[in-house]
């Protein structure tokens, strides 16, 4: 698969996948990277050092600061893969230098939670 690259970079890690959108301002602890919204299916899990796969971001535009804070606090995902990109996630990842790619519906469905992968967000490949 060739994914659309929004923020470049190369990394490897384990996929953490959800089919629920993420509200970074409201649902993520910016110090620890733990999802603290008990209505979210990732509640209690940490985004730290994962390849975070989620449909798209929702909620406040200030969520971009949360993404930046996660990086500053060493609690950020290694990379993010979305189906649709919103400006909050795109700008947050751009400032924090977190690789970000967009997957098509089909590509998204092939990504398995817990799987170890190498993401090349230069050429847009997952190995």
């Amino acid at each position: 698969m060739t994914l659309k690259v929004i923020v470049k970079g190369k990394t490897q890690g384990k996929i953490l996948k959800t089919n629920m959108p993420i509200n970074f301002l409201g649902s993520v602890d910016k110090k620890t990277g733990i999802i603290n919204d008990n209505r979210h299916d990732l509640t209690g899990k940490s985004l730290k050092d994962t390849i975070l796969v989620f449909p798209h971001g929702v909620g406040s535009s200030v969520g971009a600061y949360t993404i930046y804070s996660l990086k500053s606090n060493n609690s950020a995902p290694l990379a993010m893969i979305c189906k649709k990109v919103d400006l909050t996630v795109a700008s947050g990842c751009a400032l924090a230098n977190i690789p970000l790619v967009i997957a098509t519906e089909q590509e998204y469905d092939q990504l398995e939670d817990g799987k170890q992968v190498t993401l090349d967000a230069e050429s847009g490949k997952i190995l």
């Binding site: 804070s69 990109v85 967009i102």
Partner: protein
């Protein structure tokens, strides 16, 4: 996305680190929205001034940025955490005050207009129809597109900041095509501002970038702002158009059942320990109408009223604040119901408000229960 030679050089860092960062953000958001180019914008409105939301990392980022950055266009900014003129009587830690002060200073150093308001459209002269702007506050972006005839995407804190520093924004989405592909048929009669807020909240959940709303002939300012606030809270939609929409657009009804679902989601208490009015902050028109409604009455419990500093000053001159204070209102500026540290679960269990946006954040961020009531109902029940 195609960049001009100058923009390429800026992205490569030829004009310093600040512009390199700003262009990096614009390129990412441009690629994300399939923009072909950047276009000039006339006005940026930033979110991310409240220490409560941006935290230490945000404070440090802005402090570093302010050492070299300057805005290129008129730039206004969202509310901060509290009112510096009314610190006493509220529990705010010295640490919070210090960090909030630093954020304010950083913004002023980069040349923003210290508006600290989420309703820039009510306190500044609006540019001419069709002007491209860059608004990160969601209710303001929706108002700008839907009522003020301006053009903006529903920007993020950083995309609007990048626009402020460069005077540009990716030419995409609502800046080019704002035709709705969904019509929401309003089926409720005699709606009040809360109904409009819930209509907005419903629309935000299901609409894409833009939505038509039929069955609404007119809205007063309070209802219109409530709709913009509700819509901005729940989703990504950045514009509404009143009307039937095109014949091929999908149609969805907003009826009693749908409204009840939203009411049950947001209303979590049948009473409040205190009352808050203003999210979005109240404008002059609303301050005037509130003072008339409160004539000869006084609140039986605390009532916090949030409005921009500029509005409070005008309202003071016109005598409205006198009436409000007489009725027991605490008038607070530069901050808002949403995300203020002034309302905490250690002090109150529940809050009464007519704001749909406020209800969402009070529950999710402040951790308190919410009692939703329209303004006339609040005045009927909570004053004597």
């Amino acid at each position: 996305m195609e960049l001009t030679k100058e923009e390429e050089l800026a992205l490569k860092g030829e004009y310093g680190e600040t512009l390199e960062t700003a262009y990096r953000i614009l390129v990412a958001t441009g690629e994300a929205t399939n923009a072909e180019k950047l276009v000039p914008i006339k006005w940026a409105h930033l979110s991310g001034a409240n220490y409560n939301t941006i935290g230490d990392a945000g404070e440090e980022f802005l402090s570093k940025l302010s050492q070299s950055a300057k805005v290129k266009v008129m730039t206004t900014v969202n509310p901060i955490g509290f009112d510096f003129e009314k610190i006493s009587g509220y529990k705010i830690s010295d640490e919070f005050i210090k960090k909030q002060q630093s954020i304010v200073q950083s913004y002023q150093k980069i040349g923003i207009t210290p508006s600290f308001s989420c309703i820039p459209y009510e306190i500044f002269d609006l540019p001419q129809k069709g002007t491209q702007v860059s608004f990160a506050e969601s209710n303001a972006a929706i108002y700008a597109n839907s009522i003020a005839n301006l053009k903006t995407n529903k920007e993020s804190s950083f995309s609007a900041l990048a626009s402020a520093l460069t005077g540009k924004s990716p030419y995409s989405d609502l800046r080019i095509n704002d035709k709705p592909n969904l019509t929401i048929r309003m089926k409720l009669e005699r709606p009040d501002e809360m109904t409009f807020g819930m209509l907005g909240y419903f629309a935000g959940k299901i609409a894409d970038n833009s939505v038509s709303i039929s069955g609404v002939s007119e809205m007063d300012k309070r209802s219109c702002k409530s709709l913009c606030g509700g819509m901005g809270t729940s989703g990504r939609c950045g514009k509404f158009v009143l009307g039937e929409g095109t014949s091929d657009s999908e149609k969805v009804d907003f009826d009693k059942k749908e409204m009840q679902k939203i009411y049950d989601e947001l209303n979590t208490s049948d009473r409040g320990d205190l009352i808050t009015l203003g999210s979005p902050q109240l404008g002059l028109e609303e301050m005037s109408s509130l003072s008339s409604m409160l004539k000869g009455r006084s609140f039986k419990k605390r009532c916090m009223v949030f409005c921009p500093r500029a509005v409070q000053e005008q309202a003071r001159k016109l005598g409205y604040t006198n009436g409000l204070e007489h009725a027991g209102c605490e008038i607070l500026s530069d901050c808002c119901t949403c995300l203020t540290p002034l309302i905490g679960k250690d002090d109150v269990d529940s809050v009464t408000t007519n704001s749909i946006k406020g209800a969402y954040y009070l529950r999710n961020s402040n951790g308190v229960s919410v009692n939703l009531k329209s303004l006339p109902q609040i005045i009927k029940d909570e004053t004597k």
